[in-house]
């Protein structure tokens, strides 16, 4: 019951916002903040009361706050939700990040009611996906998150927002239909004909038909890979990110990408253990390619936001490397595979916080100068020291410096994966170097040197119709006379949204047991299920 309240409380607040148009704009955002804060408090309470259990616990047993109601009895699909060590950290991440976005949007001037209502709707969709223990319910929330995000990008984005939104919708919708086809395959392949994840994981379907199992895994993997996104299905991501509003990008990268990787841990691995073992090497290879591809392409960007977007591809690659290594049963012992899985899960939380902070910081740039181009900004450390400090912390966290959560995550991924896939791991470590380089380069470009700020009087790029090519746009504007003017530092609500995220990154980096205590039993359970 508590979990149901947590999931649907934001939706209720959204309905109130839509139904009562008389609420003033600021108050509408206030309702949003209040609803998100209450929701986060409830998730915190759940965390407080949650018993992680001893040894392997999660996925098929040790589920807390369960609710199970029949929905479509003919195909045995139902409203089955519950929490274990895999989903609880992501539920908490969702609560934290949405609250941060709500605070950040305090001064959102444009149609605040609909904006707040859409984000609250999205929050319900994301919480619901993480809490689902039924494939159809998972799919319902998964698809609704796409719909919500489409409207956020199309309605409040900038630049070529509608085209990007359309691209995002079409790409991820293809993915979600592949997922649906895969789910139907699991349903028909199971003995008792059910969509219930717990029942399917306890008695995995298609165990004795490797071809069918492989094809179903292909469909599910395709669907999740588009969402994650993994190379070569990542091409929707930079456009969607660049043109989305800052809070939208933060949610898209921080939460929505995790729906994909979470699907691998929750669905692909425990329900198709046989196929996952057989094809784990593919996951490792795709993960490593994503690591390198994301890093190299990010290095070449001239646009801050696109760069951050590509680092997401890179970071999600580590997750896949860890999860793939967890499936290489023959070449690694159980301990190593558990460490890899824990690292992958840790990376999801860590990346959510870091990339959320980075995108909100890039939103600050947009609000000050309506540009993300590297060559139109410079020397920001002098006029905006708090902004510079936050950006530096987020960047160092992202490149995996010890003391931040990213280090704990990547260290575990590499430790766990080294035994199973030594070559892939060594190649992936190179990705860290490139990421370090590109983040340092970005810091250098933005924070050091003479202060350069786009002047307010310059024509707004958004009004100039479709920009033929982003790099061209950057080059063209570089010839304009640069005008140094004041760059306002972070305002109160911006600090209140970004600094807590960075503080959490630091806490999780210094005291990893807080999260590991919850993650480890569930990861152990997932690894045991895979090695069946």
């Amino acid at each position: 019951m508590l979990l149901t309240v947590v999931i649907f409380l934001p939706l209720l607040a959204a309905a109130v916002l839509l139904a009562v148009p008389g609420i003033p704009g600021r108050a509408a955002i206030g309702v949003w903040i209040a609803a998100s804060a209450v929701d986060l408090a409830l998730v915190g309470w759940m965390w407080w009361r949650f018993e992680p259990g001893e040894g392997a616990s999660g996925v098929v047993d040790g589920l807390a706050y369960e609710a199970d109601v029949q929905w479509i009895p003919t195909v045995d699909a139902g409203y089955h939700v519950g929490v274990d060590g895999l989903s609880l950290p992501l539920l908490a991440l969702t609560g934290v990040l949405f609250l941060a976005c709500a605070i950040y949007s305090l001064r959102e001037p444009d149609r605040p009611h609909t904006y707040a209502a859409l984000f609250l709707f999205l929050q319900t969709a994301c919480l619901g996906t993480f809490a689902s223990l039924d494939l159809i319910l998972f799919f319902v929330f998964f698809d609704l998150s796409i719909v919500g995000m489409y409207f956020v990008i199309a309605g409040w984005g900038h630049g070529n927002a509608r085209r990007s939104a359309l691209k995002f919708f079409l790409y991820t919708f293809i993915g979600s239909l592949a997922l649906l086809v895969g789910f139907i395959g699991l349903f028909l392949g199971s003995e008792e004909r059910t969509f219930d994840m717990v029942a399917l994981a306890a008695n995995p379907p298609l165990a004795d038909s490797p071809v069918a199992g492989g094809l179903v895994l292909l469909a599910i993997g395709l669907g999740l890979a588009v969402k994650t996104p993994l190379f070569p299905f990542h091409t929707w991501l930079p456009d969607a990110h660049t043109d989305a509003p800052a809070a939208g990008s933060a949610v898209l990268a921080g939460i929505l990408l995790k729906l994909g990787t979470y699907g691998f841990v929750r669905i692909a691995m425990p329900i198709l253990p046989d196929a996952w073992q057989r094809w784990a090497m593919v996951a490792v290879v795709v993960g490593v390619i994503s690591v390198l591809w994301g890093a190299f392409v990010a290095l070449a960007q001239t646009d801050v936001k696109r760069m951050i977007a590509y680092t997401s591809v890179n970071h999600m690659g580590y997750v896949l490397l860890g999860l793939g290594a967890a499936g290489l049963v023959a070449s690694a012992d159980e301990e190593a595979r558990t460490v890899a899985t824990v690292g992958a899960m840790y990376q999801m939380v860590s990346h959510g916080l870091l990339t959320g902070a980075l995108f909100l910081l890039s939103g600050v740039l947009w609000s000050r100068g309506h540009s993300y181009a590297f060559d139109r900004w410079g020397g920001l450390a002098r006029p905006a020291p708090v902004f510079a400090a936050c950006l530096a912390v987020a960047a160092f966290g992202s490149l995996g410096l010890p003391g931040f959560s990213g280090f704990i995550a990547e260290f575990q991924v590499f430790t766990g994966a080294l035994q199973a896939a030594p070559v892939g791991t060594v190649i992936a470590v190179v990705g860290i170097l490139i990421t370090a380089g590109l983040f340092l380069l970005a810091l250098q470009r933005l924070l050091t040197g003479d202060t350069v700020v786009p002047s307010e009087t310059e024509p707004d790029e958004t009004c100039g119709g479709p920009v033929p090519g982003r790099t061209d746009g950057g080059a063209a504007t570089a010839t304009l006379p640069r005008k140094a003017s004041r760059m306002a530092d972070l305002r109160g609500h911006e600090m209140a949204s970004i600094i807590p995220l960075l503080a959490l990154v630091l806490i999780l980096g210094l005291f990893p047991r807080l999260l590991l205590d919850v993650l480890e039993p569930a990861a152990m359970a997932a690894v045991e299920l895979v090695s069946r």
Binding site: P73, T74, V140, F151, R162, F173, I184, L188
Partner: protein, 485 residues
């Protein structure tokens, strides 16, 4: 008739009573008081639906010497058609109120609904032909009801095509009678496996052509866009909803009973019809700028999904619930989408919706729900329907069809978004090709003040809510239809 239970046909009798009563009442009612007829027709429909719901709890039976089948499929069609006609009468009232022939329109709508139910319930080829006529003739009159040139052209096209396909169907029935010597479905099912393959092929093709025409499936779908765009929006909603429901159910029964064990691969034929319908419907919808034509092609593609479950009618027990939920979901959502057009009759193109609509936010929201519902976005009814249909088709060994349908669903998203984006944000999703020369459909001055008719707007909101509620309450609906409740 002796011991036949006449009351087994109570839902149909109530509809007939409503039609006759409405006609008589209309004769003695002044023109400005014709709402009485509307009320009577609505009451008759609701009573019929209620009687049908009660009948669902009873075991399946065949009455009148096996010609009239009363089972889950019939029950679903009875309820959906009766409720659909009741809603459509109110949807049409905005444009029909005070019309000199108002009563006639309502009565014809009832009779067409009766024909649709008869299609679904027939267990005999001759009754199927009679039902085909009953589901066609009133519709010809309704299509041209406005008596304007577009409507007359639409009616002519509809009528000529209907007459042609009717002949094909008669040839098919004659061939089957020649092959098996009987017209009853159960006897046919026993006799046809040994019949001559040539006769059988002619028979199967002819009969399927008839039901495919009523359903608006490829290759006999040509009437759909012209009739939809030529007639008024409420009539377009009627013509693309009510007869399709009965026709799909009729095809389902044909595949499940007489054609179940024939030596031809009829399921493959139907699967190909399904695949081609959804693909061609989607491809043709891509470039439409007239919202009615867009919806017309969308109904063609929706019939493709419905025919998926027809193809596996005899192969899996997941088929009947899939049909039950998809038919109901399709009816609700499709009526909702057409109600949006009826609510703003002057906004006929996508650009009109971009520039003029968007201010009444609730209309835009309900329209988005209905259109996303047609795509099959959860948790709407069509999503549950698609899920059930996909599962049934896969279970019936048509995995390739599931893949085709999934790809088509993605493709359909594209043109629905072309309409959703302007309706929601007030700006086209992608640059709309320059309209003018060669464009289809009547054009209106963009940006002019739009009046929103209250009755269709209410239907639109009700359909949006109904689509979500039916999706969330799919278990309840399936429980009712299977007679468990």
């Amino acid at each position: 008739m002796g011991d036949e239970r006449v009351l087994a046909l109570l839902p149909e009798l109530l509809l007939l009573l409503g039609a006759v009563g409405g006609l008589l009442l209309g004769l003695w009612t002044p023109q400005h008081r014709q709402w009485r007829v509307r009320l009577l027709v609505t009451v008759a429909c609701l009573a019929s639906a209620g009687a049908a719901a009660v009948a669902l709890a009873e075991p399946a039976e065949r009455v009148f010497e096996g010609t009239w089948v009363i089972d889950t499929t019939t029950g679903v069609v009875r309820i959906v058609v009766a409720l659909g006609v009741a809603v459509l009468v109110w949807l049409a009232s905005a444009s029909l109120a005070g019309h000199p022939r108002e009563t006639e329109a309502y009565v014809l709508m009832l009779l067409g609904g009766l024909g649709s139910i008869a299609l679904a319930a027939s267990g005999d080829l001759l009754l199927l032909v009679a039902a085909y006529l009953l589901a066609s003739v009133p519709l010809y009159a309704l299509a041209g009801f406005a008596k304007d040139s577009a409507g007359v052209e639409a009616t002519m096209k509809y009528y000529l095509m209907g007459a042609f396909v009717g002949v094909l169907m008669l040839v098919g029935v004659a061939a089957l009678v020649l092959a098996a010597g009987t017209t009853g479905y159960l006897d046919l099912a026993a006799q046809l496996p040994e019949a001559s393959p040539a006769l059988l092929a002619v028979g199967v093709l002819g009969v399927l052509a008839g039901v495919a025409f009523k359903a608006g499936a490829v290759p006999v779908h040509f009437w759909v866009p012209d009739v939809t765009a030529g007639t008024t929006p409420p009539m377009a909603a009627y013509l693309t909803t009510i007869p399709k429901i009965g026709a799909v159910a009729a095809a389902f029964r044909l595949l499940a009973e007489p054609f179940a064990d024939v030596p031809l691969d009829v399921p493959l034929l139907v699967a190909v019809i399904a695949a081609v319908s959804m693909t061609l419907g989607n491809l043709a919808a891509f470039n439409q700028t007239d919202v009615l034509r867009l919806l017309a092609y969308s109904t063609v593609s929706q019939v493709g999904y419905l025919f998926m479950v027809v193809a596996v009618a005899a192969r899996t027990d997941l088929a009947v619930p899939a049909l039950a939920i998809y038919l109901a979901g399709y009816a609700v959502t499709n009526v909702g989408a057409f109600a949006a057009v009826a609510a703003a009759p002057t906004a006929r193109t996508i650009t009109d919706w971009a520039t003029a609509i968007g201010r009444p936010r609730w209309i835009a929201l309900s329209l988005v729900v209905c259109l996303l519902g047609l795509v099959g976005t959860p948790p709407t009814a069509v999503f549950v329907g698609k899920l059930a249909v996909f599962a049934a088709a896969w279970d019936g060994a048509l995995v390739w069809l599931v893949v085709v349908a999934a790809m088509n669903t993605v493709a359909s998203l594209f043109y629905y978004l072309r309409w959703i984006a302007p309706a929601f944000a007030g700006v086209p999703a992608i640059p709309v090709p320059v309209e003018g020369a060669g464009g289809a459909g009547p054009r209106t001055a963009a940006g002019t003040a739009q009046t929103v008719h209250p009755a269709p707007a209410m239907v639109l909101h009700a359909a949006a809510v109904g689509s979500i509620l039916l999706g969330l309450g799919a278990g309840v609906w399936l429980g009712i239809t299977s007679g468990a409740v």
